[in-house]
């Protein structure tokens, strides 16, 4: 297992390096009234590409984190039992379509707003996840780093999507609202297996939603280019 996490780290580093170049430049320039822009403005296409890259990376890293966590902490018979009652995904309540046909019928606006909603709803739970992972005795460095990285990138993804909304939809900057995620905060000391299953569910739900975000954004891109017959 140690070996595999080392391999994971190596693979992660190898896979990430092309993306790191793109991520060095800040995704979004803060444009405040009366202040100089800190960076040159970016074209809409480039911004969308950048946002999609972010989403792809986030999905891949979340998938890796989920596998790592599953390997390390989840006993084999329990691996099928995620999303059971009580451990439903937190974003279940959000009105997001789940089939391709439904999604194809969504407007650009809807797509973007859904993405933004998803991103925002995950910012706080990921922070919470980091703190709980730190409590694990033998959580590997790799896993901790990955979750940390993801939660940072999620913030920049939020920024990017907000700018995109502003550019594409010509809407004003939406105020940052965070939905209450009270159900995540547990008082008292849950037992080990319970907390493991809870975190496992959290990770797998996040993975799913990251995939959703990526898919929505790609759909959006397809529509922008309009070369293919994107429905």
């Amino acid at each position: 297992m140690w070996f595999s996490s080392g391999m994971q780290r190596a693979v992660w580093a190898v896979l990430l390096w092309p993306y790191l170049l793109t991520l060095c430049i800040p995704l979004v320039c803060k444009e405040e009234q009366g202040s100089l822009t800190r960076c040159p403005s970016i074209s809409q296409e480039k911004l969308l590409d950048r946002v999609i890259q972010h989403a792809e990376l986030i999905y891949r890293v979340s998938e890796e984190s989920c596998s790592l966590f599953e390997e390390m902490f989840v006993p084999f018979p329990m691996r099928l039992q995620r999303n059971q009652a009580g451990y439903a995904c937190i974003t279940k309540e959000l009105p997001i379509p789940s089939s391709k046909s439904e999604i194809q019928q969504m407007s650009d606006k809807w797509l973007l707003h859904s993405v933004l909603m998803l991103v925002r709803s995950w910012i706080e739970p990921l922070v919470y996840l980091q703190t709980t992972l730190d409590l694990y005795d033998d959580a590997s460095e790799v896993l901790l780093n990955k979750t940390k990285w993801v939660s940072e990138k999620l913030l920049s993804l939020e920024q990017g999507v907000m700018v995109l909304i502003k550019k594409m939809l010509d809407e004003g900057m939406l105020p940052t609202t965070y939905s209450e995620q009270g159900l995540l905060h547990n008082d008292g000391q849950p037992e080990m297996l319970e907390s493991v299953m809870r975190d496992y569910t959290l990770l797998s739900c996040f993975k799913k939603d990251a995939h959703k975000m990526e898919t929505f954004l790609k759909l959006l891109k397809c529509r922008q280019t309009d070369i293919y017959n994107c429905a």
Binding site: E56, Y59, R60, E63, R79, L80, Q81, R82, N83, Q84, A85, K92, S98, S99, K100, S101, S204, K208, D209, H211, K212, E214, T215, K218, L219, K221, C222, Y228, N229, C230, A231
Partner: protein, 556 residues
């Protein structure tokens, strides 16, 4: 896709897996194995539920929307029944729902295995100069079922290739594009290429595409190249040989510098040969004052004249010419003389009223030697002679006492005592032909001193009386004071000297019994001692032999 794994072949029907190829639909398959009576459609039923816990009451479970008609034991979920990011539970039950054979839980996006890519073909990029290798560019198209254009699915492709003779597939890293180049394929070899894909971020690959065969034949003429290489290397070797041969001497000096032979000042090189270690250690084990030349740090250039020693017999050559046993006794094969009887000492012998001593006289041999009787008297009446040690090797440090002066100095034959001290000393070269005589240790008449072979060969540069030969060379005698300071009154002989020489001949030393009133040494007639001396090796006998390390303890 989660499969239940079994250790033994399952006896009852089980789900073999649920697979989606396009993230829009999926299908679940099961296996009946030995239960052939259940192979009728309808015997087994599939129920599913999504986004709800699997423990929900059976009412909420839905049955398979479509049992496949084209193949048995399969259930197909079309787009309407597929929710992508939902959590599915699937159960395989008997007809009457009583028996639950198997169940499975998954997310649709996790069970994606795309169809194989289509349209795989290759084009030649370039060929190598020799025509042995070439590069190709592969291209393909994504599977039709996967909606890549819309961005619904993002695929990654993996290429594998091998030469048809080999069992091992070479795997190329994942690419997102639909083309990839392969470098370094060999001509005249048939290669097989195939490609498969998986969803970006997905776990499992789909099936491989059909293989494509790549073959390029070329007439690779290897002859000129090989011949060229051989010719070039031969030329190089020839040039190298020429250089080596022409510079042979210089190279030999550089590569194999001459190694000097073993040489320790004051020690017979014979000892340094194999098998004579005991003599060497006994010599080296002597107290420093006995062998100052060994420990003397002043390395004189004339040390090299040591090599002359083998020619410097301490023999009395005049005697040797007269008395064969004597010569035999002193014979050393390394002497460098043509024959043992060659006079190799300067003819300017001090012919004095003293006659050279013959060891044969001592040994009671060859009484025919002239002046033997006189010598014997001389011996008796002389201030003392020491037993002679003949070192028959080049490091010979002994000579025969030719006479004793009234002053107490011992004259060693055949050398001229005073005059030759420095001159012959200086003249000495490393050539073995040089024949010199050494003036050996001078016995102090006062003492019943002795000399050891070490002392005899002593080369301390101490100046002393004129009769003493002050040699800076290791083979030269020591000052008389040394001798006087030598503790032991009793002489000894180094039996190993005889053994060193490895000569049969009788050693020319004897034992000093005492000193008479006139300070002359009383020597024991040694007929009995001779055999002992011959036979003895390095083991000293208690009587008459004093080991060097015991010398210091002996008091006069």
């Amino acid at each position: 896709m989660y499969k239940h794994t079994y250790m033994v072949p399952p006896r009852h029907p089980h789900l073999t897996g649920c697979v989606s190829t396009n993230l829009e639909t999926f299908r679940c398959r099961w296996n009946v194995d030995y239960f052939q009576n259940l192979s009728q459609p309808g015997d087994l039923r599939l129920f599913y539920i999504n986004n709800k816990p699997p423990h929900a009451p059976p009412k909420e479970w839905s049955e398979c929307p479509h049992y496949s008609t084209d193949r048995p034991n399969e259930c197909f979920f079309n787009e309407n029944h597929t929710t992508v990011w939902a959590y599915y539970s699937v159960q395989l039950r008997s007809k009457d729902l009583a028996i639950l054979y198997d169940e499975n839980r998954f997310n649709v996006e996790d069970i994606v295995q795309p169809d194989p890519p289509v349209g795989l073909n290759w084009t030649l990029l370039n060929m190598s100069l020799t025509g042995a290798y070439y590069d190709i560019m592969l291209s393909w198209k994504p599977p039709r079922s996967a909606d890549v254009e819309m961005g619904w699915m993002t695929l990654q492709y993996e290429i594998q290739y091998r030469s048809v003779t080999s069992e091992l597939w070479e795997v190329v890293d994942l690419v997102k594009n639909t083309q990839r180049s392969i470098y370094g394929l060999q001509t005249n070899v048939n290669h097989e290429v195939r490609v498969r894909c998986k969803m970006h971020g997905g776990k499992e690959f789909g099936e491989f595409s059909n293989s494509v065969f790549v073959h390029i034949s070329s007439k690779v003429s290897t002859f000129p190249v090989v011949a060229l290489f051989i010719f070039g290397s031969l030329c190089l070797v020839a040039i190298l040989m020429l250089v080596v041969i022409s510079q042979q001497e210089k190279l030999m000096v550089i590569l194999l510098p001459p190694v000097p032979g073993p040489k320790i000042r004051g020690i017979d090189p014979e000892i340094l040969k194999k098998g004579k270690l005991r003599e060497l250690t006994s010599i080296l084990g002597a107290p420093p004052e006995l062998r100052p030349e060994l420990y003397n740090n002043d390395i004189e250039e004339q040390n090299d004249t040591l090599t002359d020693l083998d020619t410097d017999w301490l023999m009395d050559h005049s005697l040797s010419s007269n008395c064969s046993p004597l010569s035999v006794g002193f014979r050393d094969d390394d002497s460098g003389r043509a024959s043992c009887c060659d006079p190799d000492l300067p003819s300017e012998l001090e012919v004095s009223p003293f006659h050279p001593l013959t060891p044969t006289q001592i040994l009671s041999k060859e009484p025919s030697c002239p002046a033997a009787s006189e010598q014997s008297t001389l011996v008796q009446g002389s201030t003392g002679v020491e037993p002679l040690f003949v070192a028959p090797s080049r490091e010979a440090l002994y000579t025969q006492v030719s006479g004793v002066r009234s002053s107490g100095n011992v004259l060693l034959s055949p050398e001229v005592d005073k005059t030759t001290n420095e001159d012959s000393e200086k003249d000495m070269t490393e050539k073995e032909k040089e024949k010199k005589a050494f003036q050996l240790l001078v016995m102090n008449a006062d003492d019943g001193g002795y000399t050891s072979e070490l002392n005899a060969g002593n080369m301390s540069p101490r100046s002393s009386e004129g009769d003493m030969s002050e040699r800076d060379m290791s083979d030269h005698s020591k000052a008389g004071e040394d001798l006087s300071s030598s503790p032991s009154p009793s002489p000894y002989y180094k039996s190993d000297t005889s053994s060193m020489s490895a000569l049969a001949p009788v050693p020319v030393y004897t034992m000093v019994e005492g000193v008479d009133t006139q300070n002359s040494l009383l020597l024991t007639p040694n007929s009995t001692l001779a055999p002992q001396m011959i036979n003895q090796k390095s083991v000293p006998t208690p009587d008459g032999y004093l080991a060097p390390d015991l010398l210091s303890s002996v008091t006069l």
